[in-house]
Symmetry: C2
Subunit: 270 residues, 2 copies
């Protein structure tokens, strides 16, 4: 029986996280409800990354097996069955041994910061508003220390059956004023690890802590040594990488509301 | 007494339009409530463009005069007094004869289309989902006919005291897959004119009508000759131009969730 893999996007605002929980609205619950309607029986799914309550996704990968369902059927049926805050962006039939979590080579997250005293009405649910100026160069200096394989005890919740060691492949802050985004790609992450790294980086970027605070926190192997966990609504799982899988590219080049009048003439542009 | 001019952004989803109406939640009502709290008396505002219910703004311009208020006070007070779906992005003190509506040289709108069968969870309230493929070249051919000064009777509601003549300075469709945006800048617009032009353009872009449909509709001077009015939630007022006014530039270059891993390696990206 082949495995169907789904590329899933969601607005995490109104979900109690990805993972099914009794009497809670979850992404997994909504997906499994919709799939069960097509299959006429329960369908169990697995995700590449179990995002927390309030965290969003543009490139979550979810797999399931059901002998009555294939990728085409799911792709056709989902738009009518899913709530508007979840979208199945692509569906593919894969080999039996494909597993969204274990087959994944890396996960990429973007933490979005909106640096202005007024809220941005379109991105208020997807970005953290920073009223303080951020020193992006300092954030990047600090982020360099978490790249590589380290014991991340200070930056995440470690379950008793888990190793605290994780590998971060890339971590960088990009200034696209008035947005700043912190991009983190790792093989895998501890629970709350991205938000904990971001929270620590923001202490440094806002000037409340020295650049050395990141490395000091890392070597301390103590949850109390790191900065606060950044709130979930700024975080989005942007993609999961696998060997040999190509998804449709759904990333526009420019800001959706860019317009030529703005590019030509700053005077008329907000 | 100087005039204070505000650059205002809002998510139009939960407003019954810009203009104050009894017992309705409006942008003007929310702004005037907040300003009245600072001034301790009623404050009356005027806007460059009275957007319809459901239409958004990133660069609306609103003016008012009150001897007890200046730009700095308003800028400091607004974040705490406004609901999160409105943001005062900038405030400036201007000359007494400045008037948001009459001083405006042009208004720019972007109509955002999301071309994919699955909804985009982050932009579902700000874009129209198109399940049909759009021919952007044909849309641009059609839009060329509305550029210039014309009688736009076919594309808008004309009040008895109004001329149906309007001047469009620029109209173009830009393909930034999976978004397509239709950008329209004009000196001023009739009621529903941008959405009526967009609706007509979409009939052509989707192949339901020939490119000549736009010009035929224009010369007919008959509301029935145009396509349907496109729904309000795809439309955003992006800016208003005045002689000699510079606003802060709040337009990022790239998509907020762009990330370097995506740019380098299509495989891992949604």
């Amino acid at each position: 029986m082949s495995v169907v893999r789904l590329l899933v996007a969601y607005d995490g605002t109104s979900f109690a996280g990805f993972q099914s929980q009794p009497a809670q609205r979850t992404v997994q619950g909504a997906l499994e409800d919709a799939l069960a309607q097509v299959a006429n029986r329960p369908v169990r799914t697995k995700a590449a990354g179990r995002t927390d309550a309030g965290v969003h996704a543009l490139g979550q990968v979810v797999t399931f097996s059901d002998e009555s369902l294939d990728a085409d059927m799911v792709m056709r049926a989902m738009p009518a069955l899913l709530p508007s805050d979840i979208g199945v962006v692509d569906a593919q039939d894969g080999p039996e041994d494909f597993e969204s979590r274990r087959s994944a080579k890396s996960r990429s997250y973007v933490y979005l910061l909106w640096c202005h005293e007024a809220a941005h009405p379109m991105y208020r649910k997807y970005s953290l508003r920073m009223r303080e100026a951020l020193d992006v160069r300092k954030i990047n200096e600090a982020l360099r220390h978490v790249i590589g394989t380290h014991d991340f005890t200070s930056f995440g919740r470690v379950r008793p059956d888990q190793s605290p060691e994780r590998t971060i492949l890339r971590a960088a802050a990009v200034d696209d004023s008035p947005f700043v985004r912190i991009e983190v790609t790792g093989q895998s992450f501890l629970h709350q690890m991205v938000r904990s790294i971001v929270g620590t980086a923001l202490e440094i970027g806002a000037g409340r802590k020295d650049v050395s605070f990141m490395r000091d926190a890392l070597v301390a192997r103590n949850r109390q040594a790191a900065g606060q966990v950044a709130p979930p609504h700024g975080l989005t799982l942007t993609g999961v990488a696998y060997d040999g899988i190509a998804w449709p590219r759904l990333v526009p080049v420019s800001w959706p509301w860019s317009d030529a009048m703005c590019a030509d003439d700053v005077v008329r542009c907000a």
